[in-house]
């Protein structure tokens, strides 16, 4: 798959600044609201579990 490099952990997304209808703003907000949420505990727990199961060198 061809894909472009992206900085890890970067939560904001670059978008074109061209004027768009109101719903387009709403759509971005819908997405960004979830992005800005704190990661639920079970995700943190799963990450720890993966760490232990993986190559722990």
């Amino acid at each position: 798959m061809s894909s472009t490099p992206e900085k890890p952990g970067k939560n904001s997304v670059q978008r074109s600044g061209r004027a768009k209808p109101v719903w387009a703003e709403g759509l971005r907000r819908m997405y960004d609201e979830v992005v800005d949420e704190q990661l639920p505990d079970d995700f943190v727990a799963l990450l720890k579990k993966l760490d232990k199961s993986g190559d722990s060198q």
Binding site: T4, M30, Y31, D42, L46, D51
Partner: protein
Amino acid sequence: MTASNIPKNYDFRTEMTGVLPHLRAFARGLCGRPDYADDLVQETMLKAWAARDSFQPGTSMRSWTFVILRNVYLSEARRNRFRGDYDPDLAEKLLSQPAGQEDGLHMGDLRAAMMRLSPERREALLLVGAGGFSYEEAADIAQCAVGTMKSRVARARRSLEDMLGDEGEKGGRSKSRAVSHTEMLADLDKVASL
């Protein structure tokens, strides 16, 4: 152990952790249900972790994991059709929150409209409109031609504008908002009485 082309300090886990918020946002947009979306993302994390050797550092972790999430979502949808209890209006009710009222577009209306789009168009709009992917990147993720992605986005936009009417275009009209909510509540009553 064996030498590989993965840099020594490369931390897959850190990079995957960085894109988790995006995976959650994409998943929630796809299926419309926060709880189910998080299940999808956790399944995606497990699959991504298992396949981590095939990820090429320096390429987009977000694109790579989105492909996995998409596949998880599609196979789940095929297998049990959201456990048979999916309903757009019910989903909208669950997600409804008093956000965005100041600019005239009710977020609940937008969510409901999104869930009424076909899955392909919803996905296209999520990737390009919400996620900020280019058409090329989005086509890559959805495994379709760039032209197909462009036409899906265009059609999705038109459908959305039709459904949202003046609200979606100019932002304002509490009347149509009130109507759509009345209709939504009526639909919910129907669902509840089944």
